[in-house]
Amino acid sequence: MKDNFSPLDLLALRADFPILSETVRGKPLVFLDSAASAQKPRAVIEAMRDAMEHQYANIHRGLHWMSERTTEAYENARDLTAILIGAPSRDEIVFTRNSTEAINLVAHSYGRGMMHRGQAVLISEMEHHANIVPWQMLRDAHGIELLVCPITDDGDLDYVAYERLLASHRVGLVAITHMSNVLGTYTNGARLAAIAHAHGAKILLDGSQAVVHRAVDVAALDADFYVFTGHKLYGPTGIGVLWARAELLDAMPPFMGGGDMIGSVSFERSTWARIPHKFEAGTPAILEAIGLAAAIRYVKAIGFDEIGAHEQALVDHALARLSDIEGLTIIGRAQDRGGVVSFTMRGAHAHDVATLLDRAGIAVRAGHHCAEPLMRRLGIDSTARASFALYTTKEEIDFLADTLLRVREFFA
């Protein structure tokens, strides 16, 4: 079903996602909430089930066949993740539970372990709570200053203010989103990194949204830390990724202590395992890593050029259709944006809009999207958000727009 609109064979792709043929209250599911968590292709479901049915044991511990094979599968997920984001070395990939844990790991190990009182962490006005709260905790526990880079009214990062803040403060670490989960804005990661480095700061990019829609290359970005979360990339929950330069991981103290992260242990002292194992205390999310590996294989086989082009067409179409609806305001007009469109409707709160859309079978998210400070900056309480994935169709967006017209009538 290729058409001029999309380079993807959507009918075939949608058949890969069993849940998409579900109905909601007798209506076909129109799932426009993939930015919160994406649906899973059969390849992921089967990889995890196959492991449990045929090839499963704890890893790095057993001397037996099952353990060795499972260790290979787990470590293969690390290889695939390194390739996905262009990491120079597989040892630089640390598996965590999600993005939130990856950021907390950096705040704890790098922040407390290697930053000094009086240094600053620089975030932006459009961060997810996951990239705000860990830095506030660091500030309060460790005497670190927390700076916030403004955004423009269009929802782009204010690069002039960014450079000014770096020039006027002792910024040790920049931690900024690579793509906003509310505004859809892509930040220019390479530019941010170059400016940060010119002022002696390290940079962490929150790629939770960004990795889903485009090919990411941490080496080309010249970032120092990059985090993302498996469940938004069509993988399972419970697995996230921290990438960091090897020399940083080597120098950072461990985050959690326990099994699997040690060199040797006595009651007097312990030594740490080499990276990345130093940061993976305890039995990791083995099945989830195997699921993530399947997800990565799946998106790579489709290709990010194709996924990106498809989603760009969806965003352009959504912006055109939704802009035509009287009383509806699109929040965020950045130049470079991914598959997320937030909006408000005059006379109707986002919750009420979402409830009515739900009754038509359309799943959107409504609220502050874990970005309360951004809502305050924009002078609003909440938005409704439609977000797109590789399986989203133009027809679904048309149905959203048509249904929104009726929602508007309902609350008129």
Binding site: H349, D352, T355, R359, G367, T403, F411
Partner: protein, 151 residues
């Protein structure tokens, strides 16, 4: 196409959501309380005035929230008039039970709140309806502002 939300968005709810009658601070009040839903950012503050016997004589509120939340606050402001603290707590419990389970206890004061009964079919919206009551319970537990003012 929205036939099946008729229970949730009864005309009263739509009207009160759009044009609440009690959405204002009270100039003179005895206590105030706040309700917060950190999951979605909704926020309600209520102000209450009591008569000499300790029963509620006036309620005003300010809400940042959806139609359900604002209508619930507005209807609450009327339903609670004349109730003392124990009566209010019982009414609050009965209301919570109604919006959670759809079952209403035999409480005469609940009658005025019945338009909100449809919320029970929408689990993710229950909190919208109970938030004003959470704020009201906060006001009951808050120190008395008039007494504080009079030292």
């Amino acid at each position: 196409m929205f036939e099946d939300v008729a229970d949730l968005y009864q005309q009263v709810i739509l009207d009160r959501g759009r044009h609440p009658r009690h959405a204002h601070r009270l100039d003179r009040f005895d206590a105030t309380g706040k309700g917060d839903n950190p999951m979605c950012g909704d926020r309600v503050q209520v102000w209450v005035k009591r008569d000499d016997a300790g029963a509620i004589s006036d309620v005003g509120f300010e809400a940042r929230g959806c139609a359900i939340c604002i209508a619930s606050a507005d209807l609450m402001a009327e339903a609670v008039i004349g109730h003392d603290a124990p009566g209010l707590r019982a009414l609050s419990d009965d209301f919570a039970q109604m919006v959670r389970s759809g079952q209403s206890a035999s409480n005469a004061a609940l009658e005025q709140l019945k338009p909100l009964g449809g919320v029970s079919d929408f689990p993710s919206r229950v909190k919208c309806a109970t938030l004003p009551w959470q704020a009201l319970m906060g006001a009951l537990d808050a120190p008395d502002e008039t007494e504080a003012a009079h030292g």
